[in-house]
Symmetry: none
Subunit: 215 residues, 4 copies
């Protein structure tokens, strides 16, 4: 992408670079698809290349090895991990949160690499560090939202916000796996309700919701 930007304004628009970038992307996409489908260890570099429609050797032109493709893939997709900024000040926090969750969860689903990573984490400290960073960014984002709400006196004052942020994260990250597609809509609502009950005292929650009805 930064590559494309550099090209802006240049006339002939080198087809070579574009094709290379396309091939790299095809490999990443294929790696992504196969890692999800069969797991990381079960996917061979040969398969990834074949799936991307290139020769085995080409794989190694773009990535030093399978692991590096995984890292590149993660860097490409990392933003998806970040949940949207959650607004705790909305009139109808439950509904707002529910829709936030839906958006975020869909993204995570799309990423869908969670099933691929755990086994690797134990043997790859760089990967571990990388994901830890991502996780911290998510946590920090949730925590900051909670702090703002706390400063306005909207939430329980005896909460350890760190724990709350972490519980929300876990619920969102691991929570919807086994739910059938048709039931998910309802579940978002229920989760949102649970989270709100963790966060807001009932009185505040009622009041916020009332405002909503008034509008």
């Amino acid at each position: 992408m930064s590559d494309d930007e550099k090209l802006v304004g240049e006339y002939p628009l080198l087809p070579k670079q574009e094709r290379a970038q396309a091939k790299r992307n095809a490999l990443i996409d294929s790696g992504y698809a196969l890692f999800q489908e069969k797991g990381y260890e079960q996917t061979t570099a040969k398969e990834i290349a074949a799936h991307a429609g290139v020769a085995t050797g080409t794989f190694y032109r773009y990535f030093s090895d399978k692991r590096q493709l995984l890292m590149s893939l993660l860097e490409d997709k990392i933003e998806t991990f970040l949940p949207p900024e959650i607004s705790w000040f909305s009139n109808n926090p439950v509904a707002t949160l529910a829709s936030s969750l839906e958006i975020h969860y869909n993204r995570i689903q799309e990423l869908g690499l969670r099933h691929v990573l755990p086994e690797l984490l134990s043997k790859d400290s760089e990967l571990e560090a990388f994901l830890e960073t991502a996780r911290n960014r998510i946590h920090a984002r949730i925590l900051s939202g909670l702090k703002q709400a706390g400063e306005k006196g909207l939430i329980w004052d005896d909460l350890d916000l760190d724990t709350v942020a972490w519980a929300i994260m876990v619920i969102v990250e691991y929570g919807l796996d086994k739910t059938s597609q048709s039931e998910k809509k309802d579940r978002y609502q229920d989760i949102a309700k649970l989270i709100c009950r963790m966060v807001f005292p009932p009185s505040i929650l009622e009041q916020l919701s009332k405002n909503d009805v008034d509008n």
Copy 2:
């Protein structure tokens, strides 16, 4: 070998079946230890056998393959997944829950296979089914506790108990990973508080706790 030493001087000792069972157990334990330490794919049958103090070939007398050892291992340890029956009627639900969580989490830690399984799930539907069953048993146990509490009118009456049970499960299962050992004590308290807030209306919670103080 330490096994052989024990045999010195003792003649008939273990009947055949027992010796075999001991060997089988040693293999399971070794598999368990190594899977945790290095992951499933990264552990070889040879290593498991060596760690158990038997020959490579012996491994295959007791298990048809590596995967089957994993399944046996899980069957052996599955009970550990089950959380203790949670008592929602105690006088001090937060404290009671916190200690339940601590007990359960320590068991799960001991099992510690979560990092090993996810990647396998994608390629092994039998394993998937197996774990789904285990998961369902946990869920059912939590759910049944909630229902009892619900029947006594102790908890929010607009809760989808299924969702609540599931959220509790997720928090317990995935929640404490990155917490440092020293901070865990506090975290159990905080988690218990959160869960209680999801479950009990504040008034009930207050009342239950008051009883406690009275005693």
Copy 3:
């Protein structure tokens, strides 16, 4: 071989160890044959295994890799590099030397690895050190023979014995390669004569030879 010695006196004579040793030897022999035939780089581990009549994997039970087989091979055969102690005091030095050369050259031929090593030397300092050691042992043996002769006043007194020893070594080591088999007998004589002329003043040489005729 030292293995065999250890076994002397033991009854059942473990067939396992013997078979393993035999396999190891078969691999070394195959490696040796193929290295000579096609060169080191051109020979694959698979080929060596096939030539020895075992599976690829078996190769790696006995040797960590191709290079290690080469080292083992050299260690096994290193003694062959050592030329026989050359007797400079014999009555007929030329004839004696000629026959020594013949024996030694045949051994070297049998070893025949010279064609295999040069390219490797540049990239493998351990191998280089190993061969340097072997070379030094040869040189030392020749030199010691020359010194003894020198002390008896048999040879030119203005010789740098080190250089002489080295020249002899080179001639013996590299000298007979391209000579056709049929001509070798004569060539040994000629070489022996040359070397003697390098070493002995004509008068001494004549005198020594005369003794011989007298006998």
Copy 4:
């Protein structure tokens, strides 16, 4: 690239053929340098091209393959193998020979491909034939010098000149490898002395040297 810089500002400059020749030479030089440094098998076509500052594909415009570059290289450098015509009639044969050796050995060092070739010989009969030819030319040159000396009655009359020529060749070709730079000067002298002793009867040698002193 340094080539390109030379082109700046100069329009037609090198005719096509010359440019091509320059590129070809650059490739040969690079191949030569890399073969010496890392060995033939260890050097890739890509590296040679990169070292020569051209693209991989360009390599194959000039040479059908890596082997062909080696052959071309040898043809280019073959003359270096030829030792200088050795004058056996000089007044001070030892000194003359010593300086001849020095010149020749330096050339051979410069060529330095000896470490590269042996392994290849076994699998490439054309190469073998080629080097055999070169070797024969050297041998013939030395032999012809010896014959001339023989005709003048300067050397031992019972010598097999073929063997002598060959011994000289071997000593010169393989002899100085392991000698440290600082000791080489002396060694040339010693070698020259040895060779002279192989060739000349002491009386002749003395007489020739005396002439020298007289001058």
